[in-house]
Symmetry: C2
Subunit: 337 residues, 2 copies
Amino acid sequence: MSATIHRLDQRPAPSLDPMVALIAADMNLVNAVILDRMQSDIPLIPTLAGHLIAGGGKRMRPMLTLASAKLLGYTGSRHHRLAAAVEFIHTATLLHDDVVDGSDLRRGKRTANLIWGNPASVLVGDFLFSRSFELMVEDGSLKVLKILSSASAIIAEGEVNQLTAARRIDTPEERYLDIIVAKTAALFAAACKIAAVVAERSEAEEAALDAYGRNLGVAFQLVDDAIDYVSDADTMGKDAGDDFRDGKATLPVILAYARGNAEDRTFWKAAIEGHRASDADFAHALDLVRATRAIDDTLARARHYGQRAIDALAIFPNGKAKDAMVEAVDFAIARAF
Amino acid sequence: MSATIHRLDQRPAPSLDPMVALIAADMNLVNAVILDRMQSDIPLIPTLAGHLIAGGGKRMRPMLTLASAKLLGYTGSRHHRLAAAVEFIHTATLLHDDVVDGSDLRRGKRTANLIWGNPASVLVGDFLFSRSFELMVEDGSLKVLKILSSASAIIAEGEVNQLTAARRIDTPEERYLDIIVAKTAALFAAACKIAAVVAERSEAEEAALDAYGRNLGVAFQLVDDAIDYVSDADTMGKDAGDDFRDGKATLPVILAYARGNAEDRTFWKAAIEGHRASDADFAHALDLVRATRAIDDTLARARHYGQRAIDALAIFPNGKAKDAMVEAVDFAIARAF
């Protein structure tokens, strides 16, 4: 797929750059908090945490906290510490995810569990998770603590839900949605919502930012799951076919299975159960998702949630911050191509 | 070893029964919170958590919160929810520990990771950890949140410290002490201290309960580590020799190594590095710890910390609660025989 086929209009490709520029000064302060608070007298902790934290992630979630604060005209500094807490929760989740999935590549680098082993990844994840709560306690808002502790419990539930759905071709789309709302969208929502708490804005504004983050998170994850059937390791820093080989019933698979003939369904069942995991099998899977328009429709679903995210911003004044947040949604969806 | 050899006096063996009786009614309420809050729409979560939570643990840490509250004459109900939070932190730690150690037996039962796999144990641990923070947030005391989030970070640091000391025969006693203070004593201390916060008592009383819990925790872990070179699976629900085979440089090993001759040291180095792990090797290890009085002196160290725990209670009025807390220390030490 190339950009010229799918973008018929003459607009430039959407970019995260406006959001990055909007919050660049704040992000430097967040990074300082992150670097400071991942330290420990136990040398393996900053070494392992730093590998992932310095490893080229986009800092999407703390960026959302910062951008939301800008949108609200917040001029204080509490959001720096809280954005770092959000990133620590996310980093802890990634460390544990890579153990759960047995992953060996993340953001184009070898995973921490591959380098230092699963035990270290589990324990350093626990450390970062505890540290994130210490940061929140220092901030002192029980409301923020409630939002982020609840999001953390929901993330863990979503991960367990995903684990028990693994290698099950009969996973319904509704369950898949429950999983991605929990494992991805809940933290996006919380990251945005806490900005409204810190800025002491109305419940309506809290709810709007929650909705923006939640819908963006769903769109983001849908696109991620589509990319697994599109990209290659060179372009995305992620092995294409990882989800396929892990037997994850993501939406591209769910749709291709639902729309396939008996022979296709037999293939998908065997593949998701782990009996068809060769490169040739993955090539065949790519043919099937294309033939059934499963990727196109996964992205159509993503656009639906993306549009809801954008519409949730209607109550906020127009301006650079809002423009950047709208374009971030477009970027989240367009990055599949 | 038998009780008659080591207890020459005529006092009955110390027991946890007085403490259990003291807080029985409260513990029923704590258990109700635990059962209620380990529920989830994802069935694997209560199944896996329940396996460990219902699995015959003594509930030592929540018991300490409840006993400390009794000692202070606290008559409210906030400590029930917080004691459940403490137990959830502990349970999450156990689930992750068993993954880290690859354990197959805990409290005489097969471990959760053996039954449901490492990924499920990691994620359900994360869930319980998040749930513990939700419980604290519901209580609403930032001071309690600070104490327990700090303890959680220290536990994780201690676990990483232990991991990086594994299979290193050159671990000094000071480092071993750092490890057990962090991984065990920090939560004992926090469990006791939060009772003083809830009861709104002085800093001196907070500090005294912290000291009681911390010293008891060190004594408790020292005895645990001694038991690994004494007990068998039938009597303790723990495989004797687990630490030996995992290459953990616990105090019995550190002392036996320090006091051994060149040949003994060669044996210990090879054993802790994993090259001497047979039953015959473990039998030889038992001979060496006995010959060097390493177990006796590990227990002497435990008595030292136990005495400090008891002396920390001096500022509190005499009575049933204090008696039970003193006897719990004696029990923690005497259970090795």
